[in-house]
Symmetry: C2
Subunit: 113 residues, 2 copies
DNA sequence: CCGAATAAGTAGCGACGCTATGTATGGAGG
DNA sequence: CCTCCATACATAGCGTCGCTACTTATTCGG
């Protein structure tokens, strides 16, 4: 998948991954990989700063822990994060519907993939 | 619609608008507005540079003309542009399908909007 | 005559995903 | 034992590109 098509949609996906429960950054990367069938393989240099932004914005809350001698920072959704996620889902639907209309394309979920 | 969600998807839409026939920049802006039900109202400072990029990339070909005393630059798709458009449609389908999967969202055309 | 619509353009900003690199630990294999 | 890979987090700096703001012209309606 081309680089910057993700622009503006990454944070929503991070929130979506965290919706199912607390996870740490490295695990989120793996989870994204598997949920996307390998299509979304993000470098850690993309994900960690994004998580910091989300935390600063108050959409996720992080805490340090140690597992097998390695430190982890685990994040969970805040109430604001949950709200933001549902807003982003709505605007994703609008966005895809509008752009698909202009492109003259039938939805990707339909049959393709 | 939020600003940079368009990132990486604008040029495909411009190509799609030009697919139906030669048009000049200003008209493309109006056409995009109407095709998107007013959701995509681009400032000219976005569109003209984008058209220049597309022309430099050889995806569209422009020529000057004069209508009612005003100069216009009209663009039409090149063969490469047509090819690129169909590629971008394919990758749009893939992109929406993958991201929707991760977000856990049903298609926007379905019921919403 | 003046302002809106038509028509095209550029300069500069900011957001953000990327590459590249650095740090550190644990476990597996030779 | 030592090296390499997986795990785990982080930051610096780049490049792209849509945006704001502004400029230049012409035509037309009031």
């Amino acid at each position: 998948m081309k680089a910057d098509v993700l622009k503006g949609h990454l944070e929503g996906m991070l929130l979506a991954v965290l919706e199912t429960g607390e996870q740490h950054g490295y695990a989120i990367v793996e989870e994204l990989k598997s949920r996307s069938g390998g299509h979304i393989a993000l470098p850690t240099g993309t994900v960690y700063p994004a998580l910091h932004r989300l935390e600063t914005a108050g959409l996720i809350a992080g805490r340090w822990s140690v597992h097998g001698g390695r430190r982890r920072r685990s994040y969970e959704l805040t109430r604001a994060g949950r709200r933001s996620l549902s807003e982003q889902r709505a605007s994703w639907r609008e966005f895809t519907s509008v752009v698909s209309g202009v492109l003259g394309v039938e939805p990707g979920w339909a049959g393709t993939s």
